[in-house]
């Protein structure tokens, strides 16, 4: 049942999506309730707020073979904790810029603000992101080769 890239020869990107509990996780639920399709490659991790996402988590995901990481939070100004996503925005803006500086493809990381009402948008964002990663191909620059063995 495991995704075996070698087996099929076809590239199936692995996407880790961090969703804040209050907006985007609910948005993802709404996408589900509305039966809106997006690829199964996306696996969601629930966090209380986008500001809970540590850069270490993102790098860890890449290390372990994720091909893309997306962080979803409440729209700026709508954070359940009022300021969390503002901090997340600064942290991620700087982190992504640094990754780009190190020559890591820009498209592999993304932040999207998705509200609880935006099920449609959640599905759309995921579809787009998977598409982007599909075009970028396998993550080779941040992975840990030991995890491949």
């Amino acid at each position: 049942m495991q995704i075996e890239k070698q087996e099929t020869g076809e590239f199936k990107p692995l996407i880790v999506a961090f969703c804040c509990n209050w907006c985007s996780y609910a948005g993802a639920d709404l996408a589900g309730t509305s039966r809106l399709n997006y690829p199964a490659n996306v696996k969601i991790i629930r966090v209380p707020c986008s500001c809970r996402v540590n850069p270490l988590f993102i790098l860890r995901a890449f290390q372990r073979g994720a091909d893309g990481v997306i962080i979803n939070g409440c729209h700026p100004g709508d954070c359940h904790y009022s300021t969390g996503n503002y901090y997340a925005r600064r942290r991620m803006a700087l982190l992504f810029s640094m990754l780009e500086y190190l020559g890591i493809e820009k498209g592999r990381t993304r932040v999207e603000w998705v509200s609880a009402a935006e099920g449609q948008r959640f599905a759309q964002v995921m579809n787009e992101f998977v598409e982007t990663i599909y075009h970028l191909g396998e993550n080779k620059r941040l992975e840990d080769l030991r995890c491949k063995r």
Binding site: R60, R89, R90, R91, A93, Y101, G103, E105
Partner: protein, 325 residues
């Protein structure tokens, strides 16, 4: 600098004598003319204190431990060291009351590695006259300009002002501030293609031996226990077991000091493999300056740093001006 050294010793003696301080944190003469070691002196051994163009070590980090001890310490800080000092004050790491800061003028610190690269090896002695170095080596006498062998950080000198000082030593012959494009190399890298950048950093970071010198010398990396040493953090590691970890360690280290790094350049100075680690820090500094407003860590001792602040209309992640793709 000899005049400055003399003035430092005089001030130190006076402050020790009148009980203002009970010890002095400075540099001690080494085995050669260039390997001065940070040291703590008292009245008895203050003669061993040295001050010249090889006193590179930023002493501010030692004050974390020194200010925990009894009594008051006289700390010799070069202008750029005072930024680190301030940042540590801001983070409540140094007990300001227990430190007497003596600002000491600096004309730039010479980099022995750069002398070696110039073919000046087997150094026996170095005479300093104004900006000129006369080096006696095992293989003959060599000469060079101090300006040609300065540490990377001194090329982008922050200037002769002290951000914190209880007293200062006058500079008898101030030198002109060097003009250098601090972010030139960062920009050059951003002009490269991602592949070229990736290759650049791979070839640099693959040299890393995880000796932690960059971390342990860094005044901003002053955690009691680093995440990379903490087994419970899930990312601890003693060695770069794979290419990824070489990246990860340095990305996270740069991220953790982002907004707090004063660009003191100690990381690059101490790296045994000569990795230009300051280029990581400067990338963050450049991004912060351009997107969140000019910010110099350590210019004051109280303002919240950029990563613990925000504005409602900050730039969106991925939208910072990057390089060509």
């Amino acid at each position: 600098m000899q005049a400055v050294e003399k003035a430092i010793k005089e001030k130190a003696r006076a402050l020790l004598a009148d009980g203002t301080v009970d010890r002095v944190l400075g540099w001690e003469k080494g085995e050669y003319c260039y390997d001065n070691t940070p040291a703590v002196f008292t009245e008895e051994d203050i003669d061993r204190l040295v001050y010249n163009s090889f006193c590179g070590a930023n002493l501010s980090k030692y004050l974390i431990a020194e200010s925990k001890k009894e009594g008051r310490v006289l700390a010799l800080l070069k202008p750029c060291d005072t930024y680190s000092f301030n940042q540590l004050i801001k983070e409540h790491r140094i007990d300001r009351e227990k430190v007497y800061v003596l600002g000491v003028p600096c004309h730039g610190i010479a980099d022995v590695e750069k002398l070696n690269v110039k073919g000046i090896k087997g150094i026996e002695s170095i005479a300093e006259d104004g900006g000129r170095l006369t080096v006696q080596t095992m293989y003959g006498e060599k000469e060079c300009e101090l300006n040609d062998v300065l540490l990377e950080r001194c090329l982008s000198c922050k200037g002769p002002e002290y951000m914190a000082a209880d007293d200062t030593v006058e500079d008898p012959a101030p030198v002109e501030l060097r003009k250098h494009d601090r972010f030139g190399m960062v920009e050059k890298l951003m002009q490269m293609t991602p592949d070229e950048r990736f290759e650049f950093w791979r070839s640099e970071l693959s040299k890393c031996i995880r000796c932690n010198a960059c971390r342990n010398v860094c005044p901003a990396c002053s955690c009691l226990k680093c995440v990379f040493d903490n087994d419970a953090s899930g990312v601890s590691s003693k060695a770069n077991v794979d290419t990824f970890e070489e990246n990860m360690f340095h990305i996270i280290r740069a991220f953790h000091v982002a907004g707090r790094c004063t660009d003191c350049g100690e990381c690059s100075r101490v790296c045994p493999q000569g990795i230009p680690l300051h280029l990581l820090n400067r990338k963050f500094i450049k991004d912060i300056n351009e997107n969140y407003g000019e910010y110099q860590a350590g210019a004051d001792d109280s303002s919240p740093w950029p990563l613990v602040s925000y504005t409602q209309d900050d730039v969106e992640p991925g939208k910072m001006e990057g390089g060509k793709n």
